[in-house]
């Protein structure tokens, strides 16, 4: 089930809110049970029997956590950690990477059977989330969760289940047992949800139509203008799509009393790639930082080992996003840029005027999304070539103009929405005395309800509604 669906908006969400809030707050365990049951139903609705895989993953993490927390028996704790890591990553490897590995081996001339495996929705997210729990318990950063239902609720909690943000156990462990659902939290959450929903419906879907239209063509035929339009559209789509989901997840979390950490912080205003990765998919980059980079030695080691650590993290980041060479190359591209900024041109970059630094960063990011979006390396190469004039030009037929004119309101909105306009307006209004503060209080709420109605309208009248990040 996706948030931007009528099943969710008119069926699942109202039903869950009704049942959840009918249970008195003092029966926390029962409220949690309602939430867990709803979360499993939410997953089952889209994934069917694969919900059993998630239950298996939860069981592995629960048992792993019980063992990993035996601090007075280090070997048992180590065995528990190893069990959870091997089982979790083993499931991920089989469901996500077995086919890729087999195809790669076949490509090298060895005949091996290619397994036909259905990728469970959100497996990368719930696997990493479960692992963070066991590792935190092993490190002593978090206590053992003895109640399996609470462990299950942490992993399966529907707002962040299928597309993040990757919530750390330490972030929500207190709230699972003791949280307070308040009117102001609910209102803030619902407001955030409405903004996220409209971001998805208005911006991400429109940009997705453009990107799909352009990337669906033979890349070598694209004229440069069209290739750039497609790349820009995808650049906007992936940001609005993914950050919209995070907005909705964080907002829904609020409505049930949970506080998830932010996942995006206006990444497209970054003036370096390093800054970009501090602002983009924060929950994933901090996961890799805390569970891979720092344990490997981080930057408190020789330069050669630092390079090795960064390379490892970015190979894994690429692979996490997808089992394909394009994703690996995408990870390596950022690895090179980050190493360059760290050791080569970082100081020089800092001397340049901000607009130039921003333009250089965005160029690197846009090119990276071409790698990310391309079906294979051949298409990626041809597409990048078309962007820089290496094209047959057979498709010089006005498509770029069409995509600009057809979606002109969405292009303008996208150009505004990637900037922190909301913050600027909020600060500006709040500095305008009582009237400004009243406006700052009411305007977002009125706008949120308007956007809810608009999103409903777009859901009813449109059918183009895929979520990008479900494939991860």
């Amino acid at each position: 089930m996706v948030f931007s669906s009528l099943v969710f908006l008119l069926g699942f969400l109202p039903a869950l809110l009704l049942v959840y809030y009918l249970v008195p707050a003092r029966f926390r365990g029962l409220r949690n049970l309602v939430l867990l049951g709803a979360s499993l139903f939410f997953y089952w609705w889209g994934a069917g029997p694969l919900v059993l895989l998630m239950v298996l993953s939860i069981s592995v993490n629960y048992v792993g956590g019980l063992l990993a927390g035996q601090r007075d028996r280090p070997r048992l704790a180590w065995a528990g950690l190893l069990f959870a890591v091997c089982a979790g990553l083993g499931l991920l490897a089989w469901f996500k990477y077995a086919g890729f590995l087999a195809r790669t081996i076949c490509g090298l001339g060895f005949a091996v059977p290619i397994p036909q495996v259905t990728l469970p929705i959100g497996i990368s997210f719930f696997t990493f989330q479960g692992l963070s729990y066991v590792i935190d318990v092993y490190r002593g950063d978090a206590p053992i969760q003895k109640n399996p239902l609470d462990t299950a609720l942490y992993v399966a909690l529907f707002p962040q289940l299928v597309a993040g943000p990757i919530v750390r156990y330490t972030t929500v462990m207190e709230e699972i047992a003791h949280r307070e659902e308040t009117l102001s939290e609910f209102a803030a959450g619902a407001t955030r949800f409405c903004f996220g929903l409209s971001k998805k419906m208005v911006l991400a879907n429109s940009m997705g139509q453009i990107a799909d239209g352009v990337f669906g063509q033979t890349a070598a035929n694209l004229d440069p203008g069209l290739a750039w339009v497609g790349a820009l559209a995808y650049t906007f789509q992936i940001y609005f799509d993914f950050s919209a989901y995070s907005d909705m997840a964080i907002g829904l979390g609020h409505t049930f009393g949970f506080h998830f950490l932010e996942n995006f912080n206006y990444p497209y205003i970054s003036r370096s790639v390093t800054e970009f990765w501090r602002r983009w998919h924060i929950s994933l980059s901090s996961w890799f930082r805390d569970y891979v980079y720092i344990p490997l030695g981080g930057n408190r080691c020789s330069r050669a080992r630092q390079i090795r650590n960064i390379l490892t993290v970015w190979l894994l980041t690429g692979l996490w996003h997808g089992a394909a060479w394009t994703f690996i190359l995408w990870g390596l591209w950022f690895c090179l840029l980050l190493l360059g900024e760290k050791f080569l041109w970082g100081h020089f970059l800092e001397q340049l005027p901000s607009p130039i630094r921003w333009a250089c960063t965005m160029l690197a990011v846009i090119l990276s999304w071409v790698l990310f979006r391309a079906a294979d390396l051949g298409q990626a190469w041809a597409y990048l070539g078309a962007m820089f004039g290496q094209t047959t030009g057979l498709a010089q037929d006005g498509q770029a103009v069409y995509y600009l004119l057809q979606f002109w309101p969405e292009w303008i909105l996208a150009l505004i929405a990637f900037l922190p306009v909301k913050q600027w307006l909020q600060s500006w209004l709040e500095a305008r005395g009582a009237a400004g503060q009243t406006l700052a209080l009411w305007a977002p709420r009125v706008l949120a309800l308007g956007l809810l109605v608009l999103s409903y309208g777009l859901l009813v009248t449109g059918s183009f509604n895929p979520f990008i990040y479900f494939q991860f």
Binding site: L6, L10, P14, L452
Partner: protein, 400 residues
Amino acid sequence: MKKSRWADWFLTAGFLGFLALALAVTLIRPKSGWSYYENRNLAHPAELSVETLLDGTFPASVEPVLQDHAAGRNTLMKLSVWVDLHLFHRPVVNQVVPADGMLLGWNPYETPDPAGITAQAEHMAEELAHLRDVVEEYGGHFCYAAVPGQYAYYPDAYPDFLNNREAYTALEVPALTHAMAERGMDLLDMGPVLDTAGNPREYYSMADYHYQFGGAYLTYRAILERLSAELGTELTILDGNSLAVETLPNPYLGSRGRKLFGLEDCGEHLTIGLPRAPVPFTRTDNGTETAPTVYALPATGTEGVLYSLYMGGDVGETVIETNRPDLPSILIYGDSFTNPVECLAYYSFDEMRSIDLRHYREMPLADYIRLHQPDIVVGIRDYEALLSTDYNGNLFQLQP
């Protein structure tokens, strides 16, 4: 603090109230199975059973049902079209291009492949030659006509950045003409005929893919003149003296206008032609005798009319008998472009059969022809479908 609480109540009540209201109205509003403006059946849910729950069929069927039956759907869709047309002025709205006072169809971008088109034309010509052989086997005569669709009639009305398929048409029609000529067949291409007539605007619809009565009449005339010449007999052709032409006052909702929920009106009306000296006839549709008429005339002068005015729309099999055995019989097959032609053509024949293979499933066309052995077989297809082997291009197989 108090203000903030009011604002929170407002948001919470608005949020929950909207969801509850939308759900309630969706559940209680009268259900319809058909969407008039979209011209399609609305979705219905899969049967609820353990099996459909487990295999995911039922969950997957719910979202389309909710979308199709959601509260305020028609109003919202109309509003959406209105906004796109009048506020955003998008060049394409619901796959319709409002341009130059017309409503044109949007064509996906394409890079025509000359070799592929030639191969398709060769294949289609081969199929048509086989059909011609079937007809000639029992002494019949075969004629094949190609008519431009709206995009080919008004190519210059498209903005430069949209595809008017000129490049495709320029390859397709000559390829088929050549391939048919190689097999001893002469394609009757209405494109040059309409060019000679000066391509008057009133010959083709401004809000529909099809021609208007003028274009249909010219096609009818060209076909009958061609047949008369090839058969060496003078077939009766209705003309200005023998045909009473009347333009209906009713508003015409073409398929493009329909896609725009009737919010754009090109001011078009449909025209009919009635013989001044009518001949009595009987009509049978799909084996059932129906009213002896070729026009589905509206009850009043204000009621809207559709292209289905002609022959009552698309029917699998229609047989019109005029009971004049001295005249030849004719079979006309093809898509909706045949309908207004048939409204006139029956007049010149003892029996007119009409087959639309999009709806006729009893037997393949070739078998139908062998069974009924009409003296003349005429195929009419538009440029868009000219090389397609689907339905009215599938001549020897039973339709799927």
